[in-house]
Structure formats: structure tokens, C-alpha cells
Subunit: 397 residues, 4 copies
């Protein structure tokens, strides 16, 4: 006796083609896989095609990650009528070419951050996105940390005026995976591939996050880049952020740490720091924002928590509130578990997939847009320019 | 032009039939769905059949959660040759009947915790599991918190002697979802369905966790159960832990909070507390263990962290270490993300699925076994007996 | 040329005679020394006489600690008309005799905690205090932790109904100075001198604190005492809590750890733990109290902070507030420094001295009274009785 | 019968004359009062003379704070042969005149921070100190936060190479007492009196602390100063940091917040922030230092704790250690209480007094010297210069 089959999913499909299958490819796959199971989406995202240059490896990845088909040339997929959306998970040097081709082919595009390795590329991409928008193709850049519930809650609270106009921002992104001088020379340390180092890789996140949370843009900076370890053993295999060291040595061509001061469009002043040399800090994205009526503070090392100080509270009992952002009323949370049953890193990718699917169905511009990605790129460029010029004040043009 | 299909997964299948599709059903589905994508498993778990009494609802759940077929009578599935493993996600009053039938039908069984609503039932289940083991069927009980990396790390460290023989244990499981007197009367507050209240629902977890971490068993207790709110509005719909309140009121027939002192087989003394009335604590599973050479401390509200004090450290620099258990060397973590990219609640279910699949393939007894579940049940019964007798010392038989 | 002298202090004097000059003697001296400098007191406390049995040592202590005169026999001082208040800082076995004699001689008495080594003694002392009160002599017991601002704030908030009627209390006092098996056998480990071990020494504090904070009394307990290390090297010199180990060994005659469950007069249920074996916890007095409307939490290891959860807060932004209890509106703080400039352990002794001086001047009963001390003693006795009887429920008589 | 008098203190005296008696005067008085009671000092510091311009107020202060004599003109005291050491606790605009006069009169000098309101003054003072040193007079500047045990421990550990050569420093001093726009215009907001705002008042502390902890000096900066609130109600009475607002309004002539990037002499890069506008942060002095072998972190809001990450720890159990710096082996602690019995803000002043007395007795240069104070002043000036020039890189000359 055979049991009845689950009724077919009758929602229209949104077929995904994903380029790349390492760290980001795995994270995006999890996003596409899980989003439709927890979120009630108007379209059914289908993991159609995965692309990688090594045929054997990409075929294995397809099976392991759950993609229906695979390809070795991204151009094939960009032009394929089996795919509706191109998800770009490659290193930054290839973003512009792939994303622009996809948009021109009428595909929606999700592009990993940073949008590009240069402002020029990012501008072309933003222009292509604007052009494509006219035909209904949507483009989004993948700053997934926006979609951590505690972060999205901070945005909501600030937008609602809970801490008043912003006076100060302090943002740090601290890691330690390069603090060991013998950590291998992964592609993220190669300027050609990665564009920049800590600045573009992780500094980009805190630039985007603070602009997102405050609803303001950074108008000027003064920056200082530093490479502590100039030469490293070349990586012979890659995994996660890093890889395995070989015996050959090669030059580090990007920054190890980036510091900058900044001013926001509403007048707020800010300090920023991105580093992979802070021993003991594993993925500490720390953001504090002080307004005229209160403050908020976030640390990704305790990612389900948002701290909030309400200056209007009675002085006797005022204090930073440790909001465990796992209640149904918090962004994204109603789709998940009961209070206190926290989420993890990859949930940002699930939320990203869900938001993008909804925006496409509702024909809305998904955020962050390529323009938002370009805005980040301009700040990155201004920091580099300031640093190159000896740490002078530099407007973000 | 059609792209090449992903090569077929050539691993043998392990076909799952899951009974229940609310909170635990969703969590278990995520476990089966995700485990084979991140863990390199010898068998391929297939989400074959989902079972629920309401035909329309279970059919929808099948589609939404990704099960191939569905059924309305668990007996059909237990006897079906399309299914290799029965995953029991129903309330505690049905565990024994379903699990025993499944084992007798030669299926592997994963049963949600607590194993049963009484020691008698749990004994039958453990006996059935022992009998079934002779024919190769495996039985496991779902104490997933064991599979939080920080918890599994604690177990490893204690087993390796890092804190020496155990002297003291303090364990708390604090929630607040019943602290509001008007929170509805969900099935978890009905003794018939749930067996007991805070004691069996969440106290069971800290009993299992402390026995697991220490590698010892609880030999005696003295307990005190309390029901603070005797009557509540009856729930008219259920979601997550709780539900929506109606206008009718009904009696709470289980404990709201359970306190007990205990002694472990190695001589350690312990305090235990389980409550759903600790305003502000959402899912605070807090365990501290003091040995002769050091201590460990865990709090699920910061679930990626294990605290560790090494009494052998130099006095100048000794202090509780905040181990962020997200390194490749930590249990389960190598399958996931780079350091500091924390995991969430549901990852325990993914790890559970992965471990169970491996044990079945390797013909090993999966842990926690039904005997382990029975051991927890005996402690629960001893606490109830102690409380009923006026809080007297009661051996765990 | 000589500069003008500071005008004489014209306040009436309150002349102190202090018995004992080790750990508590130093702390009390600091209290008397500093209180009149920061608090505007109606009487001027004068450090008149210090008493110790060793003439050379007590003379040196007088000079070092700033006492005007010294004596080797406490009886001399109790009868001296140069002294108005006797401050008893000796081990517990001498409290009753000294305090009663002093009260009968018409002196005010401040007696270190625990009040006595037995209920019988404590009852005599309370009776003597009541008798003396008729003639105007005041008696107070030295539970100084009540006077940590964050603790006093908790009391105020609970009394004001901020967390509603109390449902649950969890209290721990964790230290680690005996966790090393070779820590010496100090007087605190000798039942003759100390009365009991962790129970009376530190358990007494959390009994008093929870009764004080809740405004309720403990009505029954079930307890378990344990001595982990039965024999230790005899101390040859004492300092702080402990001392220096010699080569001889002797028996530990008190408990190393004490656990008990309790019920409060208002119906609340509670867990208590006092231990000196919690490696890594140095002086962790942790108290959490859950009411119907909120919760408070305190940990002496972060002594300037009180955590507070207000269940009435909007769900979106509710969370434990980290109140840094250093604002002028917080108890005792206006006498000290600007916000955030925290206080330390000994400030409790300063506040104790200030409060006692004011109560004497205003002819008010200082708190905690000897009756309060007796109440603690009765709980201690009930815990011991329960433990001796095999951990059975025992009413506090 | 009269009791024997405490033997006279036979140590040579060190007679103190203190100028000023508000916030800093009270803190220094407590330092002089308490230091000889807990520390075994070679000289006996005597609270000889206190100086203030208002005769009635200073006479009262003398009695209240425990000074023998008083004066209304600091010149009298500087020239008096009843005084050996001048303790300057006045606003910054008078430091130079008083300190130089005192040194020329052969007195030892303790001068509150910042050393002066300008580099020119500070240079004169450092020159005077150097000149005076030839005759044996000692000069010290009062950066008391160096003497918090956790801070002094950090210095010891870094000097011992525990975290290796320094790569990065991040330092913040966050307060919120001006975040309210109607907080009054106290003298600290008047450039004439205070020299600068957040920069000189609290930024000076983190400049000194990071130079002290690292053993390096800041060689260049780029800075940004901001005044958020340009006008405030004039203060009509002062207390603590602030005071009571009147109805008149006046201009704020100093910075509200100061941000700067910096480079240290050993090559490390750094971010600094000083602000009084960070709602909810009361006195958060936060310093993190990353070296090649580990990290340390400190936050004054948890002042008895130093966090330490040892990159040499086994990866399985590595993590920031929460060192509770209250053990006998930690700086200054042996003089105080048992482990875990934490110290408070004012203990820094006690330690300062003790250290200074010892250095004078041992004829050693006390630290921080006026040269150290000058070094801080030069950094402050460079930050101001950089900010005035539009946030350009500026060498510390």
C-alpha cells in the first residue's frame, strides 16, 4: 500500500543559479534550502543550477548541497532560460562581470558583498541594476548581517525615534584568524582577488550596518590602513575563511587592519575599526550608537541580544536592557522558535533569501540595493585614499 | 540546452517516518533536512512520511516541511515497508505505544523527550529497545541539548579529567512563558498529556545534561513541586510552546516549578531548579560543575560559549575562560562556519540526526539510549515521590 | 606663623570599643574611620579602644588602625565609662558572652554575624537586647551586605512593589578558598569556634539578604551538608579568611558546603547554596528573585550592578536592565562619587557605621536587630537539623 | 581607670598641604587618610593643611575631612615650613603656578591631572620638576587609574611579554553626564578653567593609561573634536562632576567628544574616543590591547576584572580569561581583603598616596612624573591641532 503524496507546491517557481560553492556558496545554499520551509513565501525558490570551474568538484557540490543541475561556465547559466535569478558567490574581482551580464540577460541578481573591488566597477553595476530595474529585474547585495533579528530590531527602533537623532557611532569588526604570522596566504589576502583586506572584507559590513541602522550615510572619513605581516606561507588548500599553509611564501598585498574616523550625513561622528589581528575576538561585530534620547549596542559574539538604554527611564531603575531578540514581535523571529531558542549565523542567509523572494514577487526594490553597495564602496575608496594620502580628511564623493 | 543533472546520491537511504508536526515536528524536520548537507553521512536520510490526525493539516505540513508522503494513522507508517525509522514527536502520553510498536515492527526509533509519562511506560520502552536491539533496530531519545557544541565540549573536558572528580553541580532551567497568569492552558499544562509540568518538560533536560556531562547518575533526591497559578484560560489554538487564550478557564494539573537537591553516584551534591516563572529568563539552561581541579559553566542564553576555570593556571592570570565553542576542534563545529559564526537552537536537531544516522550505519547503540531516558524518568519520579511525601529524601530506584 | 586650626567637631561623641583586630577588626575600623568623613552624622564616632588578648599585638594594632587606647581584657572595656558602644569582631563562640555583658553594662552593641553559634545563645542575646532597649541601649548585628547600594536598592524596589509578590528565590554564595585540599585548617573550620562551616559563615549572609530583600521570613527548609575534605594541615598563622599551613594535620569539623530548599512566609519557594569549593568563584553572592511583575538579580562579583526585569515593559524592548547603582538616587551613593565611580567591599562597613550612629542618635532600633540575627540562626539550626535527620522537611521554629 | 594609650607612631612624618576641597579634594583626602592604615609605609603622612579661598567653607572642610589646619591663600602654605608636600587639586588653569611655586619652595608636589591646560605650562612644570629633583623634591601627576589593580596587572603582564609586542590599541572613555542638553554649564565646560573638554578631562586618562600599559608613547594622531550642545544653563552650585542648573544660559567653550586615531612608538595603531554623551555609559574606561601573543581588555565599569587571552593556550580551551584581580598576587591587593572582596574607585587614590610616600622615603622618582604628564599634554595638543587643521595627521612633537 502506498501512502498519499504530499500535494504539489503550487506556487510559481523562482529558479536559482548560484556561481561559487565554497564558504559563501554553502551559506547561500542553506538560505535557499531553508527559507521556504519556515517563511510563507509567494514564490517557491528552486535550487536549479550551481556553477564552478572544476567539473568534478562542482558536480559533487551539486549533489551534496542539493542543486538539480550544474555547470562549469557561468555564462551558460546567465543565458539559460532555466534560471530566473543569479546568485553571485565568487571573489570580488568577478562580481561586476557576472552581475552585469546577468542583469542584461534579464535575470534577478543577488551579489555577495562587497559589491565590487572598485568604485568604478560598483558604479557600472549600479547603473546596470538601474537599467535592468526598468524591465523588472531586481538586484540586491548580500549584506546579511542586516538580517540578524537584533540588528533589524535596532534599525526599527532607531527609525521609530527611540534613541532620537544620532550623535555618535562606534563600530568595530574584530577577528583573529590572521594574528598568527603563519596563517596561510588565502585569496582574501590577495589584492587582485579581494580588492582590499580587512577593510573591504569586514569593514564593509560595519559601514553598511551603521548606515542601515542609522538611516544616514557617511560623508567623510580619515583612515589608516596597516599590514602587520607582510609575507606568509602560500595556501595550498582553502576552507572556511582560510586554508592550509604550504612551504612557499608570498607577499600580503592587502591591509591587515583598517581604522577610520567618520562623519554621518546627520552630523554624527564615528570611529570604525576592522581587523583580523585581535587575538581572542572571533567575529566580534560591535556597534554602539548614541542618540539624544538613548543608546543601542550590539555584539555579534552575543548575536541574539540587543542592548538598549532609554534615557527616559526613571533614574532609579534606568540601565542598559539586555533585549533577547527572540520574541515573536522581533524581526524574522515569528517564523522560528519559542523565546530564548536563539538563532545562529546562517539564519541571516535564510532571511535574505526570504526577503528577496518576497520583494521579487511584490515587484519591490530589494534592499540593500546595488546603490547601497556602491555607497559602501565609495566609503571604502575614501578610506583608502585618505590612508594613501597620509591620513587626511577625505570626503566620500 | 539542458545542463547536466547533479549525480545521484548513491548512498543507501534511511527513510524516515515522523509522527507529529508542531514545534518538535518542525525542529526534527529541519534536522533531517539539513544534516546530510553539512555532515558527510554514510546513509542518506530521506524525509519519507509525516503523520498527523488531521488529514488536511498533515497534507499541508508535508508540502511545507518537505515530506514525500503523509498519513493520518501512525500505525500505517509503523508497519509500512517504505519507512526505516520512526521519529516520535508527539506529546508524552503516546510515546510508549508508538515507540514500542515501531520497535516491534523492526524500525529504528527516535523518541522525543521525556521518554514517557511514567516510569512504568519508560521501563517497557527500555525493555522493548533492548529486545529490538537484538534484531538490529536502534532506539534513541531526543535530548538534543547534549549536542550543543559547548555542552558536548564540557562532556569531553570532564571525561578527560580537566576538572577532576566532581564535587558539586548546580543546574537551573529558567523560562518565563507562564509567569503571566493569563497565559493559556496549553497541553503542556495537562497532566494527562504532559505527565508533569516544568519538572518533566524542562527539568528532564537538566537531569539528562548533568548526568551526561558528569558521566554519573543521580542516586537520590529531595524535591519540592509548586503550582503558582491553579487555573488558566483554556487555549484555543497552539503555537510554539504555548498558544492563544480563550474565555473558558480550566485547572492547571501540573507543577509550575520544581526544585530539588540531589546526590550523584560519585558523591557530588547538587541543586536543581526548573521553572517557567522566572520573568526575563527566556531559555536559561544554566549548569555549573565544580571538580577538584576546576570548574565549567554553561548558559544556553549564550549558547556558543563554555566557561572554564582551570585551578592549575598560574594564580596571577587564572580566571574563567570564555571559550567561544566555534572552532574546528570543538564538537560538530568543523561541519559549519568559521570561528565566531555561532550556531543556534535548531543545530542540536541537525547534530542529533547526523549522529543517529552514523550510529545506525555503524550498528552502534545511539546515545542517549532508552535506558538513559528511563534513568531520567526515574529521577523525575523520585522527585515527585519526594514532593508528595513532604519533601523527604528519596532514593532513585 | 601658624595656620588656624580646624574648628573643633562640636557634635557629641560616640566612643567605640572594638573587640578583635583581624579581618573583621580591620573592616570595622575602616567603617568607623571613614563614615564621619562622607556622611553627615549627628554624633561623632570616636575610635576609642581596641581589645585583643596579645598585649604587644593589640598595642601595635591600636597604632596602625588608629585607636586611641587598647586593652587585653574585653571585660575592662565593657565596664569602662570611656566607651559608649561595644563592637564585637571576635569568632562566634564568644559573641554571646561579650554582647550580653556589654548590653547589661548599658553599652550599645554592634555584633558581627552570625549572631551566635547556637539558637540558645542567640535567644539569650535577643532577650538581652530587648531588655537593654528599655534603657536606651541599641543592639545591631553586622550583616553588612545589606548595605551594598545595589542590594539596598533591590530592597527598596521590592518594598515598592516593583516586582510584585515574590514567587521564587534562588540564592548562592560561592567561594573557592577551600577547594584546594591543602588549604590550612583555619579557625573557620573548627566547629567549637565557628559553630558551623559554609552554612554559618556565608550561608548566613544569603539567608539574611533574602529575608531582608523580600521582607519575608523563611518558614521551613530541607537541607544537606557535606564535608568534602575531612582532614587538613593545621594553620600556623592566620590572615584574611585563611592562613598558612603547617605540617601537622587535623580534622575538619564543619561543613564544606550547604544546600537547602526553603519556603518563605509569603509562599515563595527557594533554593540556597553556600560553598567554599566552587573553583573560580571568589565571592559570588548571587541572588535572583522572581515576582509576579518582574525580577531582580544581583551578583557580588559585579557588586555595583543590580539587574532588573520589568514585565510591564513593552515586549519589543523588554530585557534585564543593568542598573549601575552609582547614581545619587541610589541608597548611600549621594555621599560618594559621581556616577560610574563604583564602590567596593568595605563600603558596606562604612554604611553600617553611619546607619548605626544615626539610629543611636535618633533613638531608633538599628537593623538588622538581634532578633533578625536570631531569625537567621533559627534557619541555620533548621538546616542542620534537617541534614542530620537525612534531609527531611524541617520547620523553622 | 584609664586604658593604655596606643604607642606613638614613630615613623617620620610627611606633612601634606592640599589645595582644593571639592571632588578631587575629597578623593585625595581619603587617599591620605586611608593609605597609612592599610599599607606599611616608611613615613607617616599627616593631613596638615587644607586650602580654599572661602574661609568659612575651607574651615568646615578642614573639620569634616580631617585636616589639622586651614588657609585661604595657597602661597602661605607653599611657603610654610609646616608642610612637606603640596597636593594640587584645583582646576587646570592654576596647576602650573601653584606646582612651580611649591617645587621652587622645596616641597614635593602631587598635581591632579591633566598636568596643565597647555603644553607651554606643562613644559615649564616639567622643567621645574627636573630642577627641583636635584634638591630632592619629588613631583608626580595624579593619573590614579594606573593604580587600579587590574590596570597595574595589565601593565605587569605586558611588560613581562605575556601578549608579545603590541599591534593594536583601542581605548574609549565613555560617560553620559552631558548627554542631557540641560545639564548645567559647570567649570569643566569652560575652556579658561578646564583647558579642554572631554579630551583633556577624560581623554587624558586613556592617553596616559595606554602609554603606561604598553610602555610606549604615542607618536602621531589625527583627531576630530565636536561640541554637540553649544549653549547650556549656567551652573549655580557645583557638586561631583556637575552641579545645579540656573536660568541664565552660557556658551560651551570646550569639546563634548574627542575622537582620534594614533600610532605608538613601537608601531602599534590605535583608536581613541572620549565622550560625555554616551547615554548609559557612566564611567566606561575601556581599553583593549592586542599583541602578537595575546590580548588584554579592561572596562572600568567592571573595575576589579582584567580580561586576558593567551594565544598560546590549547585551542580547545582557549578563551578570554576573566581574571578577578583581587588575589594577593595582584598589585596592591595584599593590603586589602580576601579574594573577591572588590575594591572601588577611591582605592586608586589610596594607592597613589602609598606609592608616593614610599618613593619619597626611598628617594625614587615617583611615576607618573611631570614628564609623563607633559607627554600626555603633547598628545592632547596634537589632537587639537589636528582637529583645528581639518583632521590631518599630526606628529606629537
Amino acid at each position: 500500500m502506498s501512502l498519499p503524496q504530499a500535494p504539489a507546491d503550487e506556487r510559481p517557481q523562482l529558479r536559482i543559479g548560484m556561481i561559487g560553492y565554497s564558504f559563501m556558496g554553502e551559506a547561500h545554499s542553506q538560505g535557499w534550502r531553508v527559507a521556504p520551509k519556515f517563511f510563507d513565501l509567494p514564490l517557491n525558490p528552486v535550487m536549479q543550477t550551481i556553477v564552478g570551474r572544476n567539473q568534478k568538484a562542482v558536480a559533487q557540490a551539486a549533489t551534496r548541497l542539493g542543486w538539480k543541475t550544474y555547470a562549469t561556465d557561468w555564462r551558460t547559466v546567465v543565458e539559460s532560460d532555466e534560471v530566473d535569478l543569479i546568485d553571485v558567490c565568487t571573489p570580488g574581482d568577478t562580481h561586476a562581470e557576472i552581475a552585469i551580464a546577468a542583469l542584461r540577460a534579464g535575470k534577478h541578481v543577488l551579489c555577495e558583498k562587497p559589491l565590487a573591488n572598485s568604485v568604478a566597477e560598483a558604479e557600472e553595476m549600479a547603473a546596470a541594476a538601474e537599467e535592468a530595474a526598468k524591465t523588472g529585474a531586481k538586484a540586491m547585495v548580500g549584506f546579511t548581517y542586516r538580517r540578524v533579528p537584533a540588528v533589524a530590531l535596532a534599525r526599527e527602533m532607531i527609525a521609530a525615534g527611540k534613541i532620537g537623532p544620532i550623535r555618535q557611532v562606534r563600530a568595530q569588526y574584530l577577528q583573529d584568524w590572521l594574528a598568527d604570522e603563519n596563517a596561510p596566504l588565502a585569496w582574501r589576502l590577495d589584492k587582485e582577488k579581494a580588492g582590499s583586506g580587512a577593510l573591504g572584507d569586514i569593514g564593509a559590513h560595519i559601514i553598511d550596518l551603521t548606515q542601515y541602522m542609522t538611516g544616514e550615510s557617511i560623508t567623510g572619513v580619515t583612515g589608516m590602513l596597516e599590514t602587520f605581516v607582510k609575507e606568509r606561507p602560500v595556501a595550498v588548500a582553502s576552507s572556511g575563511l582560510s586554508g592550509e599553509a604550504g612551504t612557499e611564501r608570498g607577499p600580503v598585498t592587502v591591509d591587515d587592519a583598517a581604522l577610520f574616523l567618520a562623519r554621518f550625513s546627520g552630523g554624527a561622528i564615528a570611529t570604525f575599526e576592522a581587523t583580523r589581528f585581535a587575538w581572542g575576538r572571533k567575529n566580534a561585530i560591535r556597534i554602539e550608537i548614541n542618540g539624544t534620547k538613548g543608546s543601542i549596542a550590539f555584539d555579534f559574539e552575543d548575536m541574539n541580544v540587543l542592548e538598549y538604554y532609554d534615557a527616559g527611564d526613571d533614574q532609579q531603575t534606568a540601565g542598559y536592557r539586555r533585549i533577547i531578540a527572540t520574541e515573536d514581535v522581533h524581526p524574522y523571529v515569528a517564523a522560528w522558535w519559542p523565546p530564548g531558542h536563539g538563532l545562529g549565523y546562517e539564519h541571516g542567509f535564510v532571511h535574505q533569501a526570504a526577503d528577496l523572494v518576497r520583494d521579487i514577487a511584490e515587484k519591490k526594490q530589494p534592499l540593500p540595493s546595488f546603490s547601497d553597495g556602491l555607497a559602501v564602496q565609495r566609503v571604502l575608496a575614501a578610506v583608502e585614499k585618505s590612508s594613501d594620502a597620509g591620513t587626511v580628511w577625505t570626503d566620500v564623493s
